[in-house]
């Protein structure tokens, strides 16, 4: 590699543009033959000393900020709030630690950069590139060795060996892939069911009492005025969550109850699925599954915040805008003997996002 040695570069003082061109030194690339004007720090020793002091000052400041960081860490209580203009009331420890750490680290960098810019030579040097392709000799040697190796291995000759080797290598990844099957171990209630089947049923049954989410109190029809909205779940949800130790049932069974004047209901997904103007719809969007409870009381529209699918709850939950393709599943409801709202059956279509097996 000759690109680093001097290449007979004439060192000439001055290149017609009025300044020195440094000669090449061993291990140092030759200076590029282009005009170069000196910096203030090159010509004026005072400026150079000033630059040196600047750089040193930055490093000293950095050290100072480290000290301040330690002080802030030790002295400031983690709950102290302080008022800073523009930022408002902020956590003092957070802001102090961040500022001191940031300043300390930044100043190291700034100092190094300033050092390079002002004091290290800014004369551009040049290095030759060489073709990436290897020299002919190397290529020939590689080819020759390859041929020899191939011949000696007999790979081409021993057909049976070759084929069976390929077979073995092709098969060996299979155990690694197959062992991923138990990423999902079906629970006791899921045995023998396919994912599609599991996705198609929820906790709701005929007679499941509807309770308000958060308070878990059952709902009477009179509790919900026209224009009202209740987020609701089945009564046995908390029990199921205790047993299963996860939120899966909630993710499918969450519903919303809305009430409108019976004559405002233009259509439903089933005859008489409402109760005196109260409608129950799934709370999981049929697009890609975000919970959806943004109910516009006057227009009866349900808007999903994720991708703005809009459903008309007065019209069988049909999609009126946005990327959802299917209507919001409706849950048929009625009342039990005590007058509390109950589900009359499970949903008659899978709730939530579509999937392949969904007919």
């Amino acid at each position: 590699m000759s690109d680093l040695t001097t290449q007979g570069h004439d060192s000439h003082a001055g290149d017609g543009h009025g300044h020195e061109v440094a000669p090449a030194r061993p291990g140092y690339s030759p200076v590029a033959d282009i005009p170069h004007s000196p910096r203030a720090t090159d010509t004026d020793p005072r400026m150079a000393r000033r630059a040196e002091r600047q750089v040193a000052a930055m490093f000293v400041l950095s050290m100072l900020f480290v000290v301040l960081f330690v002080v802030a860490y030790v002295a400031i209580d983690k709950t102290t709030i302080v008022y800073i203009p523009v930022m408002g009331e902020v956590n003092f420890s957070q802001v102090a630690l961040g500022f001191t750490l940031g300043a300390a680290v930044f100043l190291i960098g700034a100092g190094a950069i300033q050092w390079a810019k002002k004091l290290m030579p800014d004369v551009e040097v040049v290095q030759e590139r060489h073709d990436m392709a290897s020299p002919k000799d190397d290529t020939n040697l590689a080819a020759a060795n390859y041929e020899r190796g191939k011949e000696e291995s007999g790979f081409a000759r021993y057909t049976i060996i070759r084929r069976t080797l390929i077979g073995a290598l092709a098969l060996f990844p299979i155990p690694l892939i197959i062992m991923l099957k138990d990423l999902w171990v079906p629970g006791p209630l899921e045995q023998g069911k396919s994912p599609a089947q599991i996705l198609s049923t929820t906790l709701w049954r005929k007679g499941s009492r509807i309770v308000s989410d958060g308070t878990y109190l059952p709902v009477k029809a009179t509790d919900l005025p026209v224009g009202g909205l209740i987020s609701a779940v089945p009564e046995d949800l908390r029990e199921v969550e205790e047993i299963e130790g996860n939120l899966n049932a909630r993710g499918k069974a969450a519903i919303i109850l809305v009430r409108m004047q019976p004559d405002q209901i233009r259509s439903q997904q089933g005859e008489g699925w409402d109760y005196q103007g109260i409608l129950a719809y799934s709370k999981i969007c049929t697009h890609v599954g975000c919970p959806i409870a943004l109910y516009e009381q006057r227009t009866h529209h349900l808007l999903c915040p994720c991708h703005q699918s809009t459903f008309d709850l007065a019209d069988a939950g049909n999609v009126i805008f946005g990327p959802a393709a299917r209507n919001m599943p409706q849950l048929p409801i009625g009342v039990d003997e005590e007058g509390f709202l109950i589900a009359m059956s499970d949903f008659e279509q899978p709730i939530g996002p579509s999937f392949w097996e969904r007919a």
Partner: protein, 262 residues
């Protein structure tokens, strides 16, 4: 030819700007004058009568002569005193200009006494939610954390998890809650104004309403632990900050490193 006293081109621009400011200022002052309220008529009228008079003057053009509603405004029969108190105290009503939604306006167009009168009148038309008592929205002992849970179940899907407001369809919006007063919040839940659903005391009992109010108040008063908040609107404003300030600073640093020192 000498042009020493040539009029600067800035003069015309300044004059025009000044004229615009003057006209705009006069207009703003003129339209901000409170609608002249007719003096209380001679002789004493009951609160309901006063309310009816105010209603006929300022509300009947949209809500109908007997508050039965019309093309431009829903019926007020059965909305209750709480609805009137909410709508008029927050300045939403009377609606200043047609639009997707009536924005809150400060200060409201009527004073407290007038609002009570109008509320009494509407309450007299049919039973409806009453104005909550101070005890009902006294949230001093309420559990803030429980309020947060209920807020996230019932409110955040429209008003956003930090109460910054959210978009509804066709240009409507769920407003930002950072200036909402406890009574307003209670009334809004109770009456379901504009697009907001109704959350009656049967759906969310008073105890729970207090908790929600306590949580919203906590959101309003909360300091920002992390520094400048960027609006609490989530990744979009964070990205806006990144794409402007941060990128500018980093590229400025890179340029500084590259340029030749003088």
């Amino acid at each position: 030819m000498k042009f020493s006293r040539r009029r600067s081109p800035i003069v015309a621009t300044t004059l025009l700007f000044g004229a615009l400011v003057a006209v705009g200022g006069v207009y703003a002052v003129a339209t901000s004058v409170q609608p002249a309220n007719a003096a209380v008529s001679a002789g004493r009228e009951t609160q309901v009568e006063e309310g009816k008079r105010l209603f006929l003057e300022g509300c009947s053009s949209c809500h109908g002569m007997s508050a039965q509603g019309g093309e431009n405004g829903p019926t007020l029969i059965g909305v209750g005193a709480a609805a009137v108190d909410f709508q008029v105290s927050t300045g939403r009503m009377p609606m200043g200009a047609p639009g997707a939604q009536a924005p809150a306006v400060n200060p409201p167009s009527y004073d407290a006494e007038q609002i009570s009168a109008m509320a009494a009148y509407v309450a007299s038309l049919a039973p409806g939610p009453a104005i909550p008592t101070a005890e009902q929205y006294d949230y001093a002992d309420a559990d803030v954390a429980r309020g947060g849970e209920l807020f996230r179940i019932n409110c955040s899907q429209c008003h956003q998890a930090a109460g910054q407001g959210g978009a509804l369809t066709q240009g409507k919006y769920a407003p930002n809650l950072m200036e909402a007063e406890p009574k307003e919040i209670y009334e809004a839940m109770l009456t379901g104004p504009q697009s907001m659903p109704v959350f009656s005391d049967a759906q969310i009992p008073t105890e729970n309403k207090k908790e929600i109010i306590a949580y919203i108040t906590a959101l309003q008063e909360e300091p920002s632990p992390g520094g400048l908040t960027l609006g609490k609107l989530g990744p979009v404003t964070e990205a806006a900050f990144l794409g402007t300030a941060v990128v500018a600073v980093l590229i400025a640093a890179a340029v500084w490193i590259g340029i030749k020192a003088r």
